[in-house]
């Protein structure tokens, strides 16, 4: 048998992660925590899993792909929308929290370098945790959600800078003398500038053309994008810049293309897989046995992350003119440690900047704060009301659960812009019905005067974007049976009426069995039309 070892290890990781996810879900624990626990169970507890070369590679790919994904979310309009607020809040918050965290760590007798590291760990919040939690709490479209994500993106840029600095200071530059640091910094920033410059030039001259050429073939576009990402990772490695930063820049570049959105949806499941491997391996590598002795420091740092950091964000947002509810909820959302805290710690230990004892400490703080965050964010409104009662003047304002802006509802969704789909769209919108058109090909949607969603309706994200759950009717003109079947099933689950095109008459019965409200058998319709024409020319009575 071929390489059974990698299959065995990966099998353990995947099965462990899935099992813990199933257990964690009713407890509403975030996936990341489930993965860490799975890793703890497989590694230190059971001793089954030893993180080997291939798992390390997969973990590395996981982190890089995650940053690629974060970059993919960073389109220019979004950067503008978040504006200066996020930059100011992000930078000030990171600086102050880092200082506070470092001070607390120093107070517990840790060395200068280790304290500085723990300060940094405390300062950054987790994009993945926050985005996942907001997604579930339907908070991504609300002002506090947008602000929190903005601050996170600023943090991500800062993380990238910190990672670059650490790489510049890394073992390659030898003893961290002043000259070594300086040349390391120059080299690292030079490399960073080169990567960014390449990306900017490519976005302007190369990428749009390539993307348009490959647009017809999803697989080609997908592999080409991943090649672009891994090319940047390799370049970063060569230039002694962090590979994570390379992936991030590659993602930002692709986010500027119209294809970026669809790409994000495709990369996402891949990231889910690799990131799971990353966190389970991380958990398996954690040595919490040593953490028992550090619990007072861990609790103090967790308090900084859970109380001081949110308070700081809240105050800064109030200062910049946001209402109390938005400020409070944004702060609350950001109260956890980032997964990059672990990366930072590992890098710093690898570079000899801190000794290995900080790793269990960071692990413990991460477990505590991410767990607390997962419980607090869904209960944000209740927490706000409880706190706002204490400080009514300071935290006033902001409507509860403001409706998300312009999400369609009560409309008809038409899927598949072939000749039939276009006719239906035109006829319905001509009657003043609100219509949303869906197709995988942006060209077919460009000349329709109705709101359009580009994407495959089988993908849940596209289904949501088209507002299917709130639609008054869904019509599919597609000739793709699998997609029609899945759409019929999902509409029935959502209780939304659905009409579906059966290109061949045999499909009609199956669709009716799936609970479709109306089956459109086009071959029968055309036969009827032909019969009518025969009557018109007098060939039949």
């Amino acid at each position: 048998m071929s390489d059974a070892a990698v299959l065995f290890d990966l099998g353990l990781v995947v099965c462990g992660a899935a099992a813990l996810l199933v257990v964690a879900r009713p407890l509403s624990l975030p996936p990341i925590l489930a993965y860490l626990l799975a890793g703890l169970a497989l590694g230190p507890a059971a001793g089954l899993l030893r993180v080997s070369g291939s798992l390390d590679l997969f973990s590395e790919m996981g982190v890089s792909l995650l940053l690629f994904l974060v970059g993919l979310e960073l389109s220019l309009p979004r950067i503008r929308e978040i504006g200066g607020t996020a930059v100011v809040v992000g930078v000030v918050q990171v600086t102050l929290t880092a200082a506070l965290g470092a001070a607390v760590a120093a107070a517990f007798g840790l060395g200068a370098a280790a304290s500085a590291l723990l300060g940094l760990v405390a300062a950054f919040s987790s994009t993945v945790v926050v985005v996942k939690l907001l997604d579930r709490a339907e908070g991504l479209d609300r002002p506090y959600g947008r602000l929190a994500v903005g601050v996170l993106l600023v943090q991500d840029v800062l993380v990238a800078v910190v990672l670059t600095l650490l790489t510049g200071l890394g073992p390659g530059s030898g003893v961290p003398g002043r000259g070594g640091i300086a040349s390391g910094l120059v080299g690292a920033f030079g490399g960073m500038a080169l990567l960014v410059g390449t990306a900017v030039l490519a976005v302007r001259w190369v990428l749009p053309g390539v993307a348009r050429w490959l647009a017809g073939s999803g697989e080609a576009l997908f592999t080409a994008s991943l090649t672009w990402c891994f090319g940047f990772i390799l370049a970063a490695e060569v230039l002694h810049v962090s590979t994570e930063l390379g992936a991030f820049v590659a993602g930002v570049a692709l986010a500027q293309l119209p294809e970026g959105r669809g790409l994000r949806r495709r990369v996402h499941p891949l990231v889910d897989f690799f990131v799971a491997v990353f966190f389970v391996s991380l958990g398996a590598g954690l040595d919490l046995g040593g953490a028992a002795s550090t619990w007072p420091a861990a609790l103090a740092l967790a308090a900084v992350v859970l109380v001081a950091k949110p308070a700081l964000v809240c105050l800064l947002l109030l200062r910049t003119g946001h209402d109390g509810r938005t400020a409070f909820l944004s702060g609350l959302t950001l109260g956890q440690v980032s997964e990059f805290g672990f990366v930072l710690a590992a890098l710093a230990v690898g570079a000899g900047l801190a000794d290995a004892t900080v790793l269990p400490l960071v692990g413990l703080v991460g477990l505590l704060t991410i767990g607390a965050s997962a419980l607090l964010v869904p209960a944000g409104e209740r927490a706000y009301r409880a706190v706002a009662d204490r400080f009514p003047r300071m935290l006033a304002g902001g409507a509860e659960g403001e409706p998300a802006p312009d999400r369609p509802s009560g409309h008809v969704v038409v899927v598949g812009m072939n000749d039939l789909g276009r006719r239906i769209v035109r006829a319905l919108s001509g009657r003043g019905e609100p219509v949303v058109a869906v197709d995988t090909d942006p060209v077919k949607l460009s000349d329709l005067a109705v709101p359009a969603v580009v994407g495959d309706i089988s993908v849940p994200g596209v289904l949501d974007e088209a507002g299917v759950p709130r639609a008054r009717l869904v019509v599919s003109a597609l000739r793709i049976e699998d997609v029609n079947g899945l759409l019929a099933y999902r509409c029935r689950e959502l209780g939304v009426p659905v009409a579906i095109h059966a290109f061949e008459p045999e499909q009609a019965e199956e669709l009716l069995e799936l609970g479709v409200d109306h089956v459109l058998v086009s071959k029968h319709e055309v036969a009827r039309e032909l019969a009518a024409e025969l009557r018109a020319v007098g060939a039949v009575g």
Binding site: A18, L21, A427, L473, L486, E504, S522
Partner: protein, 532 residues
């Protein structure tokens, strides 16, 4: 990381090549892999791990497809055609491989590999030509599903060929046990799957956990990796689980299969002339035996001659599964590296030929060569005043029924012997032949007809007919898009647009019952199918 980037870059190049040339992707990816091995060979471990993971995912996804529901009415025909084709082509492959000097066990792997046809290639072509749900498309899909199952489940027995039959008992028991477990899971656990895994992340990891659990069980039972992976797919192959899993897993699958084929190419390297020669012989077996056998059996099962021929041509290639079978043999130490190279060449080569072999032109040419057993010419040319139906598929036959009930004389022009045989029982007159043939038009008496209705798949084939009677006799032509409609109109025909008729029917429903159904959420029970 460097190896991953290289494999991906080669995959992107392969896909771009396939996109540009409109050839199947797999051979292009193999070629990209061979190219990569010349420029900068990736490390041994990277290749082996990619191959192991790619194999697992590829076979798992093949197992997911095994939903009998997809076959529709063609279930029995597909089983009959599939089993016959598998046995016959497998037998021919075994004979050819033995003649070429392969050892018995090695020949068994080769035969299994040749008996499978490619789901990737066929489904892509059927989709592009919008033929997936024509009866012949269903037949092709059914045969493919059956082949995958037979081939994969027979892999454990391939190394035993030429040995004692008692050696087969242990693997047979293991396959049966794991198969039963898989079917039980499909029955009782799969419906629960979506209820537990209602999030993207859990779906991806849950499906992969099922895959690894079955592979683990398979390994414990000493079965090859492919058996566990395939049965894991079968365990989840139940609508709607299978659709949801396929959508969520497709990026992970695309990633690993793309690098899988590149890695395969890199392992093979540039083949030797002798290997190419052997591959040529085996490819001929596939290219000749498959179309012939499938055409004969499919026609016996009630398919039209044209459909049977198209199905045979479509299925005449080796499969991605063939490569996986080859790898299994390689890992088991029963197939030599050279034998594996030969298999890869056969697979890539036959796949490249499929788009040409299965073209409309080729199928039409072969239909003409078909020995007509059902030829029943109408006695003399019709007197006139009749209605000519050109093409008698699901739309044409509805019109034939209408004319029959009205007592009007109808005459069908169709190339397909099986269609004509079915008609001969109803009493509708028929002329066998192509609508572009002037002699056929004369025999059908088009000049004296009251009206002509053409429902041929490609409206432009009516050119000779329209030139002859356009403007004089009403010629109704079914078309699928507006460009075709303009083309027909310019030649004096009366186009009837499928989409227009269907849209009008939809709007009529929408104004009546549909609007009401759309108004109250929950939908209408037992809403009528639109049918005449």
């Amino acid at each position: 990381m460097e190896d991953v980037a290289l494999l991906l870059a080669a995959a992107a190049a392969g896909h771009a090549l396939a996109h540009r040339s409109r050839l199947p992707a797999l051979p292009c990816l193999l070629v990209a892999g061979v190219g990569l091995s010349l420029v900068h060979p990736p490390s041994r471990t990277a290749l082996e791990e990619t191959l192991a993971l790619g194999t697992a995912l590829l076979v798992f996804i093949a197992g997911l497809e095994l939903d009998i529901r997809r076959l529709g009415a063609q279930r029995r025909a597909a089983v009959r055609v599939g089993i016959f084709q598998f046995a016959a082509v497998g037998g021919c492959g075994l004979a050819a491989a033995s003649l070429l000097g392969f050892a018995p066990a090695e020949a068994a792997y080769v035969a299994l590999a040749l008996a499978a046809s490619s789901t990737l290639v066929c489904v892509r072509l059927l989709q592009r030509r919008q033929q997936l749900f024509e009866p012949f498309g269903r037949l092709v899909i059914g045969v493919l599903l059956l082949q995958d199952a037979l081939v994969v489940l027979l892999v454990p027995f391939a190394p035993l060929l030429g040995g004692r039959w008692t050696d087969a008992l242990a693997p047979a028991g293991a396959v049966a046990a794991l198969g039963l477990a898989s079917l039980a899971a499909r029955r009782w656990l799969a419906p629960l799957f979506l209820r537990v895994a209602d999030e993207e992340e859990l779906l991806v990891l849950g499906a992969l956990a099922v895959l690894f659990a079955f592979m683990g069980a398979g390994a414990a039972l000493r079965l090859p990796l492919v058996v566990g992976a395939f049965l894991a797919g079968v365990a989840l192959s139940r609508f709607p689980v299978e659709e949801v899993v396929r959508v969520e897993l497709s990026p992970v699958g695309d990633f690993f299969t793309a690098v899988f084929f590149v890695a395969l190419g890199a392992v093979i390297g540039v083949p030797a002339p002798a290997e190419a020669l052997e591959a040529g012989v085996l490819a001929l077996v596939v290219l000749l035996a498959t179309p012939l056998l499938i055409t004969v059996v499919a026609e016996r099962s009630g398919f039209s001659a044209r459909s049977a021929i198209e199905a045979g041509l479509m299925l005449a290639q080796a499969s991605e599964i063939s490569l996986v079978i080859g790898l299994s043999g390689l890992w088991a130490g029963r197939l030599s590296a050279s034998g594996f190279t030969v298999l890869a060449l056969v697979t890539g080569g036959t796949m490249l030929l499929t788009p040409f072999l299965s073209s409309d032109r080729m199928a039409r040419g072969l239909t003409r060569l078909h020995p007509a057993r059902w030829l029943r010419r109408s006695a003399g040319a019709p007197a006139g005043g009749h209605v000519v139906l050109v093409g008698c598929g699901s739309t044409g036959s509805r019109l034939a029924d209408l004319l029959l009930t009205q007592g009007r004389e109808a005459l069908v022009v169709d190339e397909d012997p099986a269609v004509l045989a079915a008609l001969s029982e109803t009493g509708v007159g028929a002329v066998r032949g192509d609508v572009s043939d002037p002699a056929v038009l004369s025999r059908a008496g088009v000049d004296r007809a009251a009206a002509i209705v053409s429902t041929v798949h490609r409206p432009r084939r009516n050119e000779a007919l329209l030139r002859r009677v356009g403007g004089r006799v009403p010629v109704l032509v079914r078309v699928f898009d507006e460009e075709e409609a303009r083309w027909v109109e310019a030649r004096g025909g009366r186009p009837v647009l499928t989409s227009e008729a269907a849209a009008a029917a939809f709007l009529a429903w929408y104004e009546g019952a549909g609007g009401a159904a759309a108004g109250r959420r929950g939908g209408a029970e037992g809403a009528p199918v639109t049918a005449s």
